[in-house]
Amino acid sequence: MSNKLISEMGLPASIANVFAARNVLTAKDALSLPEFDLVALLGLDLDQVRSAVARISEIACPPCRTALSLLEDRARSACHLPTRLRGLDDALCGGIPFGALTELVGPSGIGKTQFCLKLALLAAMPTCYGGLNGRIIYMDTESKFNSSRLIEIGKSSFPHIFQSEGMAQEMAGRIVVLRPSSLSEFTESLQQIKLMILRHDVKLLIVDSMAAILLGDNERSTTVQKQHSWRWPLSFLKSLAEFSQIPIVVTNQVRSQNNDEVFHYSFQAQKNDTSKTSERLESHLTAALGIQWAHAVTIRLIFEAHSGQRFIKVSKSPTSPAVAFPFVVESSGISLLSHDGLEVTGAEICTIHCQDQDTTFLTRGPSHTLIFDASLQQFSWLGNIANRDVDQASRIETSPSSIFLDLLLTYHSCFKCEIDQTICIWLHKFLLLLQLLIEVGQT
């Protein structure tokens, strides 16, 4: 719309020539300038400029529709991807909506990737079983995608469908996994996705996780450059969703809130200190990527843990009030413990709780997690993400060595690969050897 040429708009020839002579060729060029500037640039009368701008605006303006015609369009075609979690689907009026950005926010290990895997599977399934029967694009920035886990979810949730081997392979084959490792690769992949969507029938796009790719380059660039560089992916994703009418699911990380984080507007009088500090202690986590991103997504689902349970909270949605559903992660993916949501009000809607505050998630691979437990001063190894395997974690007994922690993190950031158990033990032995050598050298 904004790239329509002025020469094709049916303006009087003399005026159109003046526009062309001053290099104002598209509607965008003409409308980006205020009226006064146009008068000065083109050297025409004010009335002539006004009538020309009115004509250009009429043509560049999108068509007007009534809300009733929108409703009739929606009724004719499907517009939601059901998540098979009844409470959530009811709250979202059918499921994940088409043509909008849905965001999943939560701390590590809470189940966002599980949810994404389940959604990918649901979209891949044929329509006779309630799926979308299409391809899925999964952009995996943290190397968390695991096809064996995907098949496990499929077999547990729909045993009758996945009995035949061929079915599982076909479903898995419909999921295209991309692994961009930098922002520039990500933007390139997005361009290719646009072509893919036009050519094949892609029904779902999952980006897991957005924060990793957007925040990954932050050492080199300044804040302003950072904001500029991810404005384009943001607007591209939104326009892609609109244009192709597919659901787009994006995951986001959490970060701790600074002490001088904003709570209030400048015209408000300051509250007294005591209430402020108690507020701060409770809500010390917030979504990464800032407030501008928060405005841009249409639906925000917060995954959090408190009072011994995990919850999916519908924090921002045009169709439902804020409700929270308790859930667990099982072999069949995520399942809700209760389909009646608990109402959430007030400041609780935007806060993110993370129960185990003393736990630091060090590194995660697709099927294992290394955790440093500050309370117990131990490293733990979780062999499988699913809850039932927590008991089978093997523990590495080691002294609370910060050097070891640093070594592990350095290894991870240098090689960007998963640290499995053998490497961990190897590094630990290496460190002990070094310490021995230093002691020997000193004596």
């Binding site: 719309m1 904004s2 509607a27 965008k28 409308l31 980006s32 300038l33 205020p34 500037d37 701008v53 009115a54 250009i56 605006s57 009429e58 560049a60 303006c61 999108p62 007007c64 529709r65 009534t66 809300a67 009733l68 929108l70 409703l71 009026c93 909506p97 909008a100 500029h228 404005r231 943001l234 607007s235 939104k238 326009s239 969703a241 609109e242 001088d260 984080e261 904003v262 209030h264 507007y265 400048s266 407030i291 501008q292 928060a294 405005h295 841009a296 997504v297 249409t298 925000r300 924090s315 921002k316 949605s317 045009p318 169709t319 804020a322 009000t345 007030g346 400041a347 809607i349 935007c350």
Partner: protein, 253 residues
Amino acid sequence: MSETSRFRSTEGSHGALKGAQTAWDMLSEEQMQKHITTGCEELDAILGGGIHCKEVTEVGGVPGIGKTQLGIQLTVNVQIPVECGGLGGKAVYIDTEGSFMVERAHQIAEGCISDLLDNTAHRLKDFPACPERLQPNSFLSNIFYFRICSYTEQIATINYLEKFLEEQKDVKIIVVDSITFHFRQDFDDLALRTRVLSGMSLKLMSFAKKYSLAVVLLNQVTTKFVEGSFHLTLALGDTWSHACTNRIILQSV
């Protein structure tokens, strides 16, 4: 006698200034002007009865607070028939973010109609034509929807509204949701942005005055460094803050 003649001569001698009105005439006009209820009594009380026509109101707040809900509610409430105390007008909804959910508008319309039928049943008995108009689908057919994908389209639509409003005489509210989105992202030259936005706000003001309708702009929030600390403030800068007649900020308690 002399006083009245003085008034007459006052009006006469200043009649040369086309379009000027005395405050006395405006007072009687304003007293007859109805307001658009927001559906929430306390909010209506703060606003002095509801959203005023002939004024530009800006509503801002953090994401998820309910700005779009308020916008959709207003497009439904403006259609309350005159017999029930409303304006009986149509609405224009300019959507820049894609957050207009038509199913939600349908729900809100149903809720509004059932409230009307409960509360003002005695008035409706006198006007048998009303129940036909009070269908959710007829409410939806009176909402004109524009979906905008870039700031060029936003400027073009607001320019085009001049012609649109000449043709559709019943439009009583314009809701823009949100005014900020495209201007925050795609505009690099901030000085040019300020000028384009000021021009746009003057245009909206002139629509409000000329066609006697209400303009509601939904805005986002951003952080600003003021007096040594960060504060939340509405987006688009200082100059934009003077572009509206009224500003409302929604906050959760």
